[in-house]
């Protein structure tokens, strides 16, 4: 994933706020990137743009040599399904679905995964993340750390190349934070490009690259 001169300007009635200011960087597979910065520095905006869930004002993003600025909404959806897995601070699990069913959700639109394979794949992902005993549990029956690991398993459902995590440990205690970072580190070791936005200094133990963002400018 490559970004060049990325700018994001939020327009209000009387003012303009530059959230990202000419940000350029190349994210490579097999590495864990940590993006750190103060509140309002633009880190969440950056990861949202990288995850194709937020628009940008100018610049260029290429994923697998494809310039995404030329893509239509449906094509962006296809790209998100194929290349990107997103983990959020608030987990966003469907409370009516069991853990494995939450993981199955992204698979429903992936034609490459056969219907009969979905459940098996979801169970395997949860087992790999140490949630074998929680497969049939509803989100409310799990701890925050477990819910976040279910969310990580869901982000891996369609085997994306890029994993984006927006403050994934923001709602977790230290023990669970460690577990989540270890999980993300393992994914990077398996060849995924993992980009984490966080406030936690703990990430420094796991990250291959630390990127600082200040007033919309990225510093490596």
């Amino acid at each position: 994933m490559n970004i060049e001169n990325l700018c994001k300007i939020y327009k209000t009635k009387n003012d303009e706020v530059k959230a990202l200011d000419n940000v350029s960087y190349e994210f490579k597979p097999g590495k864990l990137y940590a993006i750190m910065g103060h509140s309002g520095s633009g880190k969440s905006t950056l990861i949202s743009i990288l995850g194709l869930i937020e628009t940008y004002t100018s610049g260029k993003i290429t994923i697998d040599k494809k310039d995404i600025s030329k893509l239509k909404d449906d094509e962006l959806s296809d790209l998100r399904m194929k290349y990107i897995g997103f983990v959020f601070q608030d987990f966003y699990l469907d409370e009516h679905l069991k853990a494995y069913e939450n993981v199955m959700l992204p698979m429903l639109i992936n034609k490459e995964i056969k219907k009969e394979e979905r459940k098996e794949k979801a169970i395997k992902l949860l087992t790999d993340l140490g949630l074998k005993d929680r497969i049939n549990h509803f989100p409310k029956e799990m701890s925050g750390g477990e819910q976040q690991r279910v969310a990580i398993a869901r982000s891996l459902a369609n085997a994306p190349e890029i994993i984006l995590a927006d403050d994934p440990t923001g709602n977790l205690d230290e023990e669970n934070e460690k577990l989540v970072f270890e999980t993300l580190k393992d994914l990077a070791k398996k060849g995924k490009c993992v980009i984490v936005v966080t406030h936690s200094e703990e990430i420094k133990k796991y990250a291959d690259e630390i990127l600082k963002i200040t007033k919309g400018k990225l510093e490596s």
Binding site: E54, M81, L108, N158
Partner: protein
């Protein structure tokens, strides 16, 4: 994404509180629509009675002993179905139980009646009666002890002027708004019964042609021409339509409001699905399918409840089932109208869902996930 997968997503959340409340409201919406359509149907039925009934197309000329030649001439006028000497009339009859009244009309070949039981007129002194035969005047109509239904009527005899008539068939009287005691005999038998030849009865093919025939008759020199007064109130129909439109508007407002709340409530879920690669079209199909299922469930429950309640009321109140303006009125549930109300609600659901998903799913995923 196929239908089965969409159902898989919906099944888990179908019975959540929000949807149950939506179902309850939709249940009442359906009940109100079905009730108003049923009453509209009754109003329409009564209002159109004078236009539909064959006797409204009759023209009567007061003339003593009309000649065969004059009848022949009238029969040749365009739009005239028949012209006969004598007037269709109410006549007393006797049977072994009591003496009552029937209204005798000659059945001309071109006349359209729908037989329900038995056979058509064939032999001498055969008679056709309404399928719900009630040989009484309006003042007696609440008393149903001699009210005969369907096949019970067949082979009963009626004695008129010492002639014994046998009921060989029953016809659908409400369809042409005939009274519950309007019976048909052959033209030949009718002429035998008619003793007072001081009238000509003419029937025209369509009500709107009645005046054309009257003009022709006047040109031929006939003056004492009478017709039946047609009681038709357009305002009644317009009021009914206005009330239904108001109900539909309120229904749409309710559906729109609930769908909006539902979509906003699920916005986080839709946001995460979009972040996982779902397209707006796929999410619209999920939301639409869920709403259509809710609509269909409510429709079935409300229709069944309505049918049970309505039938119990109609069966227990006989007068409702018998007559308005002395003409039998069917208060049967109009299933076509119920079907129309179902389709209408589905269309309203579709419009509300289409508009609202377009409005909410096109905002940035980032904001969808932040929606509380």
């Amino acid at each position: 994404m196929n239908l089965k997968d969409q159902l898989w997503i919906i099944k888990s959340r179908l019975l959540e509180k929000r949807n149950l409340l939506f179902m309850l409201v939709l249940f009442f919406v359906f009940i109100v629509i079905i009730i108003s359509l049923t009453f509209y149907n009754c109003i329409k039925f009564i209002n159109y009675s004078d236009i539909v009934k064959p006797n409204s197309r009759n023209i009567y000329i007061e003339i003593d002993n009309p000649s065969e030649e004059s009848l022949k001439q009238i029969n040749q006028i365009t739009h005239v179905i028949f012209a006969i000497s004598g007037q269709t009339y109410q006549i007393g009859f006797f049977n072994n139980k009591s003496s009552n009244h029937v209204y005798i009309t000659p059945l001309i070949e071109k006349e359209e009646i729908t037989l329900i039981n038995g056979k058509n007129l064939k032999n001498k002194n055969d008679m056709l009666c309404p399928n719900n035969f009630y040989p009484y005047d309006f003042k007696d109509i609440i008393d149903t002890k001699n009210y005969l239904k369907g096949k019970e009527v067949l082979n009963k005899t009626v004695t008129i002027n010492n002639e014994v008539f046998t009921i060989v068939g029953t016809y659908d009287a409400p369809k042409i708004r005939n009274t519950t005691y309007n019976c048909y005999i052959s033209e030949k038998d009718f002429q035998k019964l008619v003793t007072n030849h001081n009238n000509i009865t003419i029937r025209v093919d369509k009500l709107e042609n009645r005046n054309l025939v009257i003009q022709e008759l006047k040109k031929m020199g006939y003056n004492n021409i009478n017709t039946q007064y047609i009681n038709f109130n357009n305002n009644l129909i317009y009021t009914g339509i206005t009330i239904i439109l108001i109900i539909l508007f309120i229904s749409f407002a309710i559906i729109y409001n609930f769908t909006k709340k539902k979509i906003r409530y699920h916005l986080n879920n839709y946001g995460i699905l979009k972040a996982s690669g779902y397209k707006n079209k796929q999410l619209f199909h999920i939301e639409l399918l869920e709403n259509l299922i809710i609509g269909t469930i409510c429709f079935m429950i409300s229709t069944i409840s309505f049918i049970i309640v309505y039938n119990s009321i109609v069966t227990n109140i006989n007068i409702l089932n018998i007559a308005v303006y002395n003409s039998e009125i069917t208060l049967e549930i109009n299933y076509f109208y119920i079907f129309i109300s179902y389709i209408t609600i589905l269309i309203l659901i579709y419009i509300a869902t289409k508009y609202l998903t377009h409005k909410y799913l096109n905002i940035s995923i980032h904001y969808m996930l932040k929606e509380e």
